[in-house]
Symmetry: C2
Subunit: 353 residues, 2 copies
DNA sequence: CAGAAAATGATTGACGTCTATCAGATTCGC
DNA sequence: GCGAATCTGATAGACGTCAATCATTTTCTG
């Protein structure tokens, strides 16, 4: 009743251990007949290779690399922190995670970083997708060289890309729209959509989503989109301007970053009549604004979960297993009352013994 | 630069492998001096025991048991399904998960099940907490006998209970209240609170939460609480009654189960003027109601994540590690647009090769 | 049918740890 | 300082797999 070993398989197949091993590890020099018998025995016995024993024997270490945007955007920072946190936690499982930073939104730099990657030093790379020919080409090259490639946060339609881990941004935009509509039950509204840049696919997708949902409701109108380039200063000015121009403003939906400026503008308003505000990404500033009642909801893509899910998939890819399905990452809605416990700073890592 | 082995530690400490092993595994018969030298070497080298090699050698299998409520409540069913799904996925990691069903809310049955547990057959049990002396006593007994004990979904203040995995239900109730308030921006409201039973702590906690938040807003009033005992029929009747009695009803918050009856009652109303509806737990019925636009939001405690988190903790407990912090489970808000992809039925498990 | 090529079996030493045994060394009580 | 108790070192065989070698058998080729 014990789990069958390869020895058992060999015996059941009527071949030697060596032959069973040759089949299992595709070493060649096996007759079709013997291979069939072994495969059959594997099925019959329900044999599963003991990955841990195997990894022990071959001294295997999984080498995974994250190429993530540098810069001090809080969201990218939390992505990078999530990687470092996982790094410590996965070490006992023979997973060596490393992190390299590349200039944000710079497809040239990303392609360069990918091209300098030695396929013998890395089993799997993950990066934030950028739709550029050079990037796609490098992804294909790595795939051919035996390095599994996956995208996170934002997809890139590279042919060799084995998986994407991230949220559906159109859905996230629709979610924001749904909340806006909820906040306008029984009354008319005028909403200001703030975007970082039209060049960012995720921002555009969110815009499309919110537009879809709000188009349904005749009473809610959208002002023209303002591009604030993820800059707090521009953001503050743009919001000030909009509030002055449109006194009847009832909602603000910010699809990009740089929300610090937005919060400053709102702080100046009467809390009882301020517009309904929804922003993206739970970072220290947005969390504080939510707790202070300056804003109403934050839509988050849970970077820590994203990284964890990516690592699980990288692991499966490296072992040659099918990518586990999993429900994908769904955007989460935070209000003041369902915030996760504040992680104590510096508590990550260092699990003794 | 390789990871140090116990052999390296022994050498660095100037003792034999056998002595280092005696220290590491607390086998006794070691002088204080030798022990100190070994401990020091462990620290200096940053030695970590290779758990996988150790488990291989000692043929260890983690035996974890979930005692979960039986019955066909969708929520309990999804809990049980989550356990079965994890069971397959964790087998390669030497984790043997088993599931036993006990009558829901029956503390006698739970205590009985706990008492019949053989400490030699199980490393860790998880159950849905019930605050009864018999249950607490059994938890303490098991803890003494070396079986780690944790509660899920609902806590029990047992002294031996090593961890609780579940959401903060007061927070969940507040979250619902916040959404209700959002849906009543700029207008007055009258809300019907539906509860399963006052005997269930989680229901009462949610009620307290929603009351807290709505007390702040002078324009929103709460009707007297209706106990529907998680029964669809009672639920339907209660809602029908309330709609007749209070034509100005603008919101319904259902804190318990049996929402099928609620959905039936709402289906009969004019979709444009129906009250705002919030329920708990994303199960097939509530999901369908959300997709159909019958209700506005579902607050979910993510049973699959809860089980996964519980298993991670059980594993850590069994290895004698400190319980990893982790942000706990926060209740998630689902609207029509951020629903997880429907898991294809029967796709779980059976990962070949 | 001989010779070459291909397939198979048998075996061995890792990997890092556990568990056990046994002989030898050190310390202790008295 | 003698026997007993305690401590220490050395070693060996597992666990399930990998990777390699070598001898042998079978099959193919012409």
């Amino acid at each position: 009743m014990r789990k069958p070993t390869l020895q058992d398989v060999a015996q059941a197949a009527g071949v030697s251990y060596a032959t069973a091993d040759r089949v299992l590890n595709a070493r060649g020099n096996v007759s079709a007949r013997a291979e069939a018998r072994v495969r059959d025995a594997i099925d019959r016995l329900g044999y599963r290779r003991d990955v841990h024993a195997a990894n022990l024997s071959r001294r295997r270490v999984y080498r995974f690399l994250f190429l993530l945007p540098s810069g001090d955007h809080s969201f990218f920072r939390s992505l990078r922190e999530a990687v470092l946190a996982e790094k410590a936690g996965r070490a006992p499982d023979r997973v060596a995670v490393s992190l390299r930073e590349v200039r944000a939104f710079d497809s040239g730099a990303l392609a360069e970083a990918l091209s300098s990657l030695d396929p013998d030093q890395c089993d799997c790379v993950a990066f934030v997708g950028l739709d550029s020919p050079a990037v796609l080409e490098q992804a294909a090259r790595l795939d051919k060289a035996g390095v599994r490639v996956l995208t996170v946060v934002s997809d890139a339609p590279a042919p060799g890309r084995a998986a994407y881990v991230g949220i559906d941004n159109t859905g996230a935009g629709r979610t924001a729209g749904r909340l806006m509509a909820l906040g306008h039950t029984g009354r008319a509204g005028l909403i200001l959509p703030l975007i970082g840049t039209r060049a960012a696919k995720d921002h555009v997708d969110r815009l499309e989503g919110v537009t879809q949902v709000l188009a349904d409701s005749a009473r809610i109108a959208l002002l023209p989109v303002v591009e604030a380039l993820d800059s707090p200063d521009r953001m503050r000015d743009a919001v000030g301007q909009a509030l002055a121009d449109a006194p009847g403003l009832t909602g603000i939906y910010s699809m990009g970053a740089g929300n610090r400026g937005l919060f400053q503008a709102i702080e100046a308003l009467d809390p009882d009549t301020r517009p309904l505000v929804i922003v993206h990404e739970l970072v220290p500033h947005s969390r504080a604004a939510l707790e202070a009642g300056l804003i109403d909801a934050v839509i988050d893509q849970k970077p820590a979960e994203e990284i964890a899910a990516a690592l699980d998939i990288m692991r499966a890819l490296a072992d040659g297993l099918p990518v586990p399905p999993g429900p994908g990452i769904t955007p989460t809605i935070y209000v003041k009352d369902n915030l996760p416990a504040q992680p104590a700073p510096g508590t990550e890592g260092d699990p003794r013994k």
